[in-house]
Symmetry: C2
Subunit: 142 residues, 2 copies
């Protein structure tokens, strides 16, 4: 692969973990995990995936792009719903198979396709048998 | 599969997204993504994976267990390093293929195997070409 989406692989484990070059370790499907939090509140908004093209576009445009595994295609988050994500900071983890995006959201109530500000609107009832969920945010739209 | 690690699959998309039963959607490798934040500070600590056994043990014991993809085995986080994670809250996302753990860490400086409090100790230099990393936390141990 060549062109703007190219990322140089790390030459060693030391370089991967301690180096100063972004060298994402894409999995067998060509993806890294993306964790997305609200830059203002710190809330976890969603977990998604990125291929090289999505990561490159995100870094070059400052607007979050992902790879939709269900549709098998590039996904500019919010292109349809309006819940665009402006990237404030990007971090990478030790072995570079996950990235952390801190974003500002244009239309928070549509961050989750179910009509909520976060995809994590249910918590596990740990006081029970750990199999039941408690809703913590009602959907704004139906 | 039967026994304590069993989770009932959701009967429909509506039940998956709006239901009150935990019905994790394990991928082809039997894993869900786990996002782990510090319950006190909100900081993102790590991203890991869980199979049904790891998730069940986490929910039953209150101590985080993962599945190590590199070792191919159950991984009680901190068993060797001492950086055990006590689970304060567990959330699940809309399509139940990711869980969010809010934890208290026993030995924060060993959360990352590189000797840091978080695996996300490097940020991408967005002012540059988006290919360089800036270290934000030096390793405490070598």
């Amino acid at each position: 692969m060549s062109g703007p989406a190219e990322f140089a692989p790390a030459a060693s484990k030391a370089e991967l973990e301690e180096g100063t070059r972004l060298s994402p370790r894409f999995d067998a499907n060509g993806l890294v995990t993306a964790v997305v939090t609200d830059d203002a509140t710190g809330d976890l908004l969603m977990v998604a995936h990125m291929n090289a093209e999505a990561l490159d576009l995100t870094l070059r445009t400052g607007t979050a792009h992902y790879f939709s595994r269900s549709r098998g295609s590039l996904w500019k988050k919010g292109e349809t719903s309006g819940a665009l994500q402006t990237v404030r900071e990007v971090r990478v983890d030790c072995d570079q198979d996950a990235v952390w995006l801190k974003v500002a959201v244009a239309k928070p109530e549509d961050t989750c396709h179910t009509g909520r500000t976060s995809c994590f609107y249910r918590k596990v009832d740990l006081a029970g048998d750990g199999r039941m969920l408690i809703e913590t945010e009602a959907r704004a739209s139906s």
